[in-house]
């Protein structure tokens, strides 16, 4: 399936290649560079590129391109999903996945790649299994290895997870403090039009967990109002049938961080929009334009809106902006023409405002449309959908774990058309 993988950095340097079948010369990447040249920005590169004998399927992540070469028919999503999974694995191992990290740990990276695919088909992908086969870099271990002269980087026995029915969990996990934390994160995707009415709004939720429990705990998580969730996807550990019948999340959790579930609440449902913008942006012939934006809280259920950031991509003809913000700092990038205003917390008593002048290139016509403003914000201790965890029960182990649930709402793709 996947024939070869090339990792390319932003400057067009193919700094790593791995072949699972016969070797393909890296000149194949020229086709990729050609497509890259045509695209106006890195995100615009088409994920699937057709060349005379090969097909290049690529993803762009952390300023790196991962280009997979395939020669035969294959579901493209299979490859794309796998490339993302490779990146996730690297992030899991090294906390981040960028050029310098990959170069620093190239041996482990190469070993991981070798283990993940066999003949281009996934072999061991589960992070729990991989981590037993190839140990993540660890300072202490490096020292002991150097001192003892042994290498413990790779394991000689097959991890039990690979053969078990629950490959995501290894046996014999032990913790002094048994804890289970659940973060319920909801992201609001919305488009607000000029007049402030909501064009479309959806909620995307995730339940991210950090589970540090000894042994083989079997957890059940129940919600107060599970019916809210109409479309869900689960980590393989969740027993789907119990969810289907009883709306209960029942699972033997993986060890450590993982995403238990993500859900989507579609555009048909009402979504509370926590912020509004009051804006006047106008351009005048010759003299530039005026910019005046105020941010205010809307339906926040009494919670404070924090970490508010506004991003205004101005048209290319704009030379500069001179603004004064009543709160926070702003910056203008003259190359990308993006003005970023870091507002911080919204104080309801005195609404944050930014105003000033826009300078336009002399001679160029005034822009015909106003920019679309991207808004970011965070509201803690609230889930906008109203979802609430009822209880968490643990079976199969004797001890009492420490449990915690946290709710966060934040902006996803929140856009205001002006």
């Amino acid at each position: 399936m996947i024939h070869s993988l090339f990792v390319i950095n932003n400057t067009g340097d193919v700094f790593m290649e791995k072949h699972w079948k016969s070797v393909i010369n890296k000149s194949i990447c020229d086709y990729f560079f050609e497509a890259q040249g045509k695209a106006s920005c890195p995100e615009d590169v088409c994920p699937v590129i057709n060349t005379p004998h090969h097909y290049l399927i690529n993803i762009y992540r952390n300023s790196l391109y991962f280009v997979a070469v395939v020669t035969t028919e294959v579901p493209p999503l299979f490859v794309l999903e796998f490339l993302h999974r490779i990146c996730d694995t690297f992030e899991d191992y090294f906390n981040e996945c960028n050029e310098s990290v990959l170069k620093e740990h190239y041996v482990i990276v190469y070993e991981i790649l070798d283990e993940m695919l066999d003949n281009g088909f996934p072999l061991a992908v589960e992070s729990n299994v991989l981590k037993e086969l190839i140990k993540p870099p660890n300072f202490l271990r490096t020292i002991t290895d150097t001192v003892t002269g042994k290498s413990t980087g790779v394991s000689g026995i097959l991890p039990t997870g690979q053969l078990s029915n629950i490959p995501w969990r290894r046996t014999g996990v032990k913790y002094a403090n048994n804890e289970a934390y659940f973060d319920i994160i909801e992201e609001i995707d919305a488009i607000i039009d000029k007049s402030g009415t909501t064009v479309t709004a959806e909620t995307q939720g995730y339940i991210d967990c950090l589970i540090k429990l000894s042994g083989m705990p079997d957890l059940t998580l129940t919600f107060v109002n599970a019916r809210l969730l109409d479309d869900v996807s689960f980590h393989p550990c969740v027993r789907f049938k119990r969810w289907e019948n009883e709306k209960i999340l029942s699972f033997v959790p993986p060890d450590g961080h993982f995403r238990l579930m993500s859900y989507h609440i579609g555009a048909q449902n009402m979504v509370a929009i926590p912020v509004y913008l009051r804006h006047t942006i106008n351009y005048r012939e010759g003299s530039g334009g005026r910019f005046d934006v105020t941010v205010g809280p809307k339906q926040t259920m009494g919670k404070t809106v924090e970490n508010v950031v506004l991003e205004v991509p101005f048209p290319k003809t704009v030379l500069n902006v001179t603004l004064t913000a009543s709160q926070g700092k702003y910056s203008f990038d003259p190359v990308s023409k993006i003005m970023t205003w870091d507002v911080g917390k919204i104080d309801t008593a005195k609404l944050p405002n930014i105003r000033g002048n826009i300078t336009i290139q002399t001679g160029s016509p005034i822009p015909e449309s106003n920019p679309v403003i991207n808004v970011q914000f965070t509201i803690s201790q609230m889930a906008v959908s109203g979802i609430k965890v009822n209880r968490l029960d643990m079976y199969g182990e004797k001890y009492k774990p420490f449990k915690g649930v946290k709710y966060i709402t934040r902006a996803g793709k929140f856009q205001v058309r002006t």
Partner: protein, 1061 residues
Amino acid sequence: MAGNGFQTSYANDKPPSSTGSGEAAEMSTDPASSSFFTSDFKRHEDLKAMLDSNKDTQKLEAMKRIIGMVAKGKDASDLFPAVVKNVVSKNLEIKKLVYVYLTRYAEEQQDLALLSISTFQRALRDPNQLIRASALRVLSSIRVSVITPIMMLAIKEAVMDMSPYVRKTAAHAIPKLYSLDPEVKDQLIEVIERLLGDKTTLVAGSAIQAFEEVCPERIDLIHKNYRKLCNLLVDVEEWGQVVIINMLTRYSRTQFISPNQADGQGDADRPFYEDSDKEDEEEEVSEMKKTPYMMDHDHRLLLRQAKPLLNSRNAAVVMAVGQLYHHCAPKAEANVMAKALIRLLRSQKEIQYVVLSNVATMTSRRKGMFEPHLKSFYIRSSDPLHIKLLKLEILTNLATESNISTILREFQTYVTSPDKDFAAATIQAIGRCASNIAEVTDTCLNGLVHLMSNRDESVVAESVVVIKKLLQMRPSEHKDIIVHMAKMVDKITVPMARASILWLIGEYSERVPKIAPDVLRKMAKGFINEEDIVKLQILNLAAKLCITNAKQCKLLCQYVFNLAKYDQNYDIRDRSRFLRQLILPGENGSALAKYAKKIFLATKPAPVLESKFKDRDHYQLGTLSHLLNIKCHGYQELPEWPEVAPDTSVRNVEVVMPYVAKTHHAQHKKKKETKSFYSESESSQEEETEDSSDEEEDESSDEDSGSEENSDDSEKDLSKKVSDSDDESDSDDDESDSEDSSEEDSSDDSVEKIVTPVKKQPKTKTKSATTTTKPATTSSADLLLDLDDLGPSGGSSVAVTPAGGDMLTPTLATGISNISIQDTPVAQIIPPSTVQPKSYELLNRMTGNGLSITYQFTRTVSVFSPKMVSIELKLTNNSDDTLTNIKIGDKKLQSGMEIQEFPEIGSMTAGMSTSCLIGINFNDTIQPAKFTICAGDNKHSVSITAPVGELIQPYSMSHADFNTQQGKLSGMNENSGKTVIGVEKDAKSICLCVHSVANVIQVPGSAENVYRFSGKTVGTGTMVLMSVVVTDDDAKITVNCEKMVIGSMLLKDLKTSIAKS
């Protein structure tokens, strides 16, 4: 510190292609390693020395550096001899790196690579499964054609390996060998066939992948494994799921008939899920043309098993299920995937791109499915261009009269986008909406005319082109637009737009008789500076005007033709020559010239503006070929549905022996099973029977849940390992034990609970039967009661849809054991599954105002509560109207009785039939359960009475147990009688008679002509024992049951059944 060294060595290995100056700079910063760069030769000398040293640390460092070169794509092949020596290294990490190096360079250094082969051959017999597997991996990856026989041998051995991990590796090795030597295909197919039979989830995906790469045309290999694959599907790892679903989609297309053939309208008949016999099925096939469409059980099985995977976190799996439903499901059911696909739109942009292109194809055919999700396709300014274009395409496809106004409003904002390519695409989209939906054509035209005064050139040009197409559809009404456009011709510079205007003026010159010649005059003036496409249109315009208005235009026309005659472009020269002959014929004018007007001013068909994605739908969705719209190498055409379904029996797996399981039985299976594992040495023969019994399980019931199957397998692995006394197996065993216990602890109030125990049933039985049928069953009776207490409390929290319910329902005929292996298997045991469930009428269509309902006893454990009898209702709407809100209304029940209702059925269109499951706890009485069925406002009182035999469920026991129990239930509790046998006296017909009366299981026994059956009542779990002793011409029937009413009634029923023929 060591790490630092590697890092620099990696960085220093940059080829000159990167930053030229960087290398020098880095070298100078790291004097230690810079010496390597003085010459390639010297550096490699250094590495060779390190590899030859006898210190592992040195070797490891050298290997790490070499791997750095490999990773970088630098040539390290001259180190091959030095590296290959280390293949025997004891150090695992060195070994691993040597393996990596070998797979990369062995092809180039074949002779030297051969030196390492013997090491791998040795490793193939290593007790450690990981070492065996990795040896096979490397051996098969080194691509040296000389060793193909060795590879073949190794693969053949590995597919028989104990460890599923090694078998998985073997599956991966098959395509490698095939690509190296296609000659061995036949041998490989044999190996694949064996792997396909493998029952572990770990192997399934890889085996199918090997199948797809080597012999995708051998669809016949799948038949026997089809049901197993379907049942395993949920438990296979994600990547395998994708491959399996894609393959099964193709399989379905060849083996089943189209679920949508009955009607093209998309209101497909709802298939129902009832079990019917094979004979029945074949009848159906032959009568297919007349009878309403019935989906093949296996087809249904696939759809049902795949559906939960729509909730997978893996986009590829979701898409695979999506395409399965798109290609193979009845249209009415395909909608389930919409939500899941919409969810994928939140993932990474690359995934969005692929999903959107598939959605675009789907929407070009089926609007309805995604219409409710219209807003999810609204475009954000931050989307990459290719995603914007796809969303635009989808929005256009989804446009209908009702939503067009919102879509157009949305489009309006897109037109002003600073991204001009996107704005232009939006205009095209508006054009398509306008042409497809007549109501808005005028609005759109006005809007587009408005856009022509836009400042941006490309926007204007695109509007002109679109307007041209729209006008062409209805030219009569739009004179002023043409005038307006004629005026704009001076301002517009985009060639395509100019050409479009000229074409319009030429085509409709009669409507603008004054303006047209003037435009031609202006154009003639600037002819030589125009683009080719415009020049051609000027020629066209000239020709047309010359025909309609020769007086004013003939000279102009001649002038233009003359200019064109000397044009640089030969197309234009040709065109001018051709037109001249037609329009301005000489003295001996050509024959065609007379028809010039007809030729040029014929009414032209209006262009059809349709989706670009329309032509893609002959490719299987989700494939690379579909995405690129070209046939990719290795693409397997999706076959058309066959007219008549091929033989369905090919998927049946041989029946060995029946065995009827009992849910409660399994409670303590674990203990028993482990015991028998250790005490028994497993002979291969036994294993074979075990296999077939498992398959029989699949065969006899397509209602098994996947997990059931799976755990069977894992268990089997365990058992193998245990018997193998492999050093690792202990931990495995422990693990599964702990897992088991946790499962049991946790799931006490769940339906799953009921399933979980059952799944291990067959094995247990196998074991206990093969050992000396221990009287363990008595204790299980006690446990059974416990379970009842734990069971779902009246099913209050359980609301199961019929489909979901089916999936969970363990058919009692599920577990099949190989009792045949018993010492003296004299009494033949007849599978109860051969008994056709009787269907009773619940509601007549006359009394029910068109709604007719029949019911039958499924003889399965009810999903709602173990105390309930599971009844399948089949509802048919015989009226001409749609019936709505069908549900169970008031219930008039005796005390102690309970009914679990079916979920309300929203609507049933005329002629539709559907089925659903209800559960009734009869409390071991034959009192009728009375309730009302509400359909809309109508209420119909109905009642269900269970024949006494249906109040029983099979309960298996050994012969000895049977005798003990029978002894306890003598006297008052014994009913016996004699009857003349009306049927043949062979075992089969006797058993059939009994099975048709009561839901019991035969007890294995040794005496001839004595048949024993056992069961328990559903409600209270009272033991029911029956025995039939056949003498010369009559039969003595004995029924033992604590409940005398049941006993006597059962005896009566049995007598009649056996007496009549």
